[in-house]
């Protein structure tokens, strides 16, 4: 089942029971670490707080990040595992295959695409992340809590990928094929962002070690509270899980010494160009009696450092797993065995390497500044870039503005009918939502979809690509829907511009909502409530609400599709949101469920 010796753990072993409860099975990745049950417990703690607990991002969103990164890392074990979990969460296979091969084609909202773009950039080449990368996330409405979770899940993805490669975990289910052309066009190497990207990028809450146990722990063990943990206080439960992992993985001297572990941390952090972690762990090695010159030498080139040959082999092994995971195999363990390392020590090395990748990704995503003035500013050097140019690690630069439909549209224009069927499937939800928004009736909307796609097909020859194909399609849907409204002499029209002032709408219901209103009802109840009340809004507000908040089109795209100016679109959007707020208030106030409000 793996490259390492395993022992049988009791079936009541709490982490395994938790995995069974949440995943339905115990992943082989964790079974493969049975020599270190304390480590499995620490990892389960991180998984519970980062992945399973749903606070800002839903489980599906997090699993999507894990799947997309596993595919980009070409890690068959993780792809298989997250594919299975997303299937269990109800995501159709077709969507999952799209996420694996190119998430941009997976029918995701622009906000979700922006989130995945960010995660892939951070996960695949963390030094390229800077404050600028948060601007599109903010524009798509992601708050600091969500962005923190995205950074954490990305770090977790790198942890799981490194570890599963290292232990040689056998996939838990029929292995999924990873297409050869997974989003991995070699992009530009951005310069090392260490200097210009001063963070932290996300907000945090001040905590004192006197009231927050993990901080007391760090102060006791390290003599200070590392900034990387201060930057995550929006999620105290995560900091707690990380503190347990630090204790279990780094501080517990069971098989490897602390100096060996710190050296691994240093070498891997340097390979990942992580100035922060190098500065912090040079300092820690210094506290353990290693001179600055020696620790610097380990970071710069451990082969030239004053180390035992066995320790150099250990660091070679950790480095190879990090920079060339695709070439890592069972034989990679042989040099360590020749030097007399036990399976327990090898497993600790693998966990330490994976955990370093976790911390490095996390630090780059948070943008935390070093706790000590760094002596080494790491930049891509030819030898390290050469290592990183391994097929499996090249960074990706994706143009978010590019229209993903250009290629299939050209194929249809060249006579390929099947490509049009793909376009229909890709955009049917968006077209449906536009039509429901306008017509206010699901059955009519489905009928009108056919007309929309037929018109689109007939006029595809005229489509010049001046707007995105999806925007063009939504405008056809919108015109189709409006024509139907006119034919049926509906009183409502999208273009009656009577009293479009802001003064016409003043909030009536001034009652505080419950802290967590979505918890008052089941997901399907919430959906029904939303759908019912959205349907009752006048068409001109309803359609804007559907396009902007549910379909998450940008202001410009929605305005273009509906043939409205931007001020009119914004004003209707706000009006729609406030009208919906009025309508939902009786359902979501503190006393909404149970007693009459």
């Amino acid at each position: 089942m793996s490259y390492l010796r395993q022992v049988e753990l009791d079936s009541s072993f709490p982490p395994f029971a938790a995995f069974r409860e949440h995943f339905g099975f115990v992943p082989n990745l964790f079974r493969a670490q049975s020599l270190l049950p304390g480590v499995i417990e620490a990892e389960a703690g991180i998984a519970a707080s980062v992945l399973i607990r749903e606070q800002a991002l839903s489980r599906i969103r997090k699993e999507r990040i894990l799947l997309a990164l596993a595919a980009a890392n070409r890690n068959a074990y993780c792809v298989t595992a997250h594919y299975q979990m997303l299937s269990l969460l109800g995501v159709p296979e077709k969507r999952l295959n799209e996420i694996i091969s190119d998430y941009r084609q997976a029918g995701l909202s622009p906000a979700d695409k922006a989130l995945l773009y960010f995660a892939l950039k951070l996960g695949r080449y963390s030094p390229s992340v800077s404050r600028k990368d948060f601007t599109p996330l903010l524009a798509h409405g992601w708050d600091d809590e969500s962005m923190l979770e995205a950074v954490l899940v990305t770090a977790l993805a790198n942890f799981l990928c490194t570890l599963s490669t290292g232990v040689g975990a056998v996939p838990d289910f029929e292995p999924r094929q990873i297409p050869t052309d997974v989003l991995s066009s070699p992009g530009m190497y951005p310069s090392n962002g260490a200097e210009e990207s001063s963070g932290p990028y996300l907000k945090a809450i001040q905590r004192s070690p006197d009231e927050f146990a993990p901080f007391a722990f760090f102060r006791e063990k390290f003599g200070f509270i590392p900034n990387i943990f201060r930057a995550q206080t929006l999620r105290p439960d995560v900091v707690e899980a990380e503190a347990s992992a630090i204790r279990e993985v780094l501080l517990t001297e069971q098989f490897l010494t602390r100096v060996q572990k710190e050296s691994i941390l240093l070498v891997i952090s340097a390979a990942n160009l992580n100035t922060y972690c190098v500065a912090v762990h040079c300092e820690m090695l210094r506290a353990m009696g290693i001179s600055m010159e020696d620790s610097d030498q380990i970071a710069v080139d451990h082969r030239q450092a004053r180390l035992a040959e066995s320790d150099k082999a250990l660091l070679d092994f950790a480095l190879k797993l990090t920079v060339q995971p695709s070439r890592f195999c069972r034989e990679g363990l042989e040099p360590l065995r020749k030097h007399g390392f036990t399976d327990e020590q090898i497993l600790e090395t693998l966990v330490m390497t994976s955990f370093t990748n976790f911390l490095n990704t996390l630090q780059m995503g948070l943008g935390v500044t070093p706790d000590f003035p760094p002596r080494l500013i790491l930049r891509p050097t030819p030898s390290k870039v050469a290592n990183l140019l391994d097929n499996n690690r090249h960074p990706i630069e994706i143009d978010l503005q590019a229209d993903p439909d250009t290629e299939p549209v050209a194929r249809v224009q060249g006579g390929d009918l099947d490509a049009f069927e793909d376009l229909i499937n890709r955009h049917s939800r968006r077209v449906y939502r536009t039509l429901v928004g306008i017509l206010g009736n699901p059955d009519e909307a489905r009928d009108a979809m056919q007309d929309t796609f037929l018109k689109a097909f007939q006029h595809l020859g005229d489509f010049q690509g001046r707007s995105k194909f999806s925007t063009w399609l939504v405008s056809i849907a919108s015109n189709t829907g409006l024509q139907l409204l006119r034919d049926r002499k509906h009183v409502q029209s999208l273009h009656d511009d009577a009293v479009e002032t802001d003064e016409g709408f003043r909030p009536q219901q001034i009652r505080a909502w419950s802290d967590d209103p979505e918890q008052l009802y089941s997901k399907s109840e919430v959906r029904t409530l939303v759908e019912d009340h959205v349907m009752k809004l006048p068409a001109k507000y309803r359609v804007v609400l559907v396009l902007r908040d549910i379909e998450q089109l940008s202001i410009e795209e929605s305005a273009a599709a509906l043939g409205l100016g931007i001020p009119a679109l914004k004003s209707r959007h706000l009006r729609g949101r406030l009208m919906l707020r009025e309508a939902l208030t009786p359902h979501f106030t503190v006393a909404a469920k149970g007693e009459p409000a």
């Binding site: 839903s58 159709p92 077709k94 906000a111 903010l138 524009a139 409405g141 009918l417 049009f420 069927e421 229909i424 499937n425 049917s428 939800r429 449906y432 939502r433 429901v436 928004g437 699901p442 489905r446 979809m449 056919q450 796609f453 037929l454 097909f457 802001d502 003064e503 709408f505 909030p507 219901q509 001034i510 009652r511 505080a512 909502w513 209103p517 979505e518 919430v526 959906r527 939303v530 759908e531 959205v534 609400l545 559907v546 908040d549 549910i550 998450q552 202001i555 001020p567 914004k570 004003s571 959007h573 706000l574 949101r577 406030l578 919906l580 707020r581 939902l584 208030t585 979501f588």
Partner: protein, 75 residues
């Protein structure tokens, strides 16, 4: 009011944002309205409303393609 819309979209300049937030700190009515408006947007966004089931999408695609193919044959 226009600023409220931009604020909900997190698209206001820092100084306007600061002005809104300093007003919110003192005005309970506005606090309630803003808080519930935020929550409305979040509920709406998270609800996955008006989703088209995969099967419905496939069936519509099938019908459209059948019509296109029959038109192409008759031309």
């Amino acid at each position: 009011m226009a600023e409220m819309g931009d604020y909900l979209d997190r698209a206001v300049a820092a100084e306007i944002r600061a002005r809104i937030e300093s007003h919110l700190a003192h005005c309970q009515t506005c606090q309630i309205v803003y808080d519930s408006a935020w929550k409305t947007v979040k509920i709406l966004t998270d609800s996955g409303s008006f989703d088209l089931p995969e099967a419905a999408s496939k069936s519509i695609a099938g019908k459209v393609m059948a019509r296109i193919r029959s038109q192409q044959r008759s031309v």
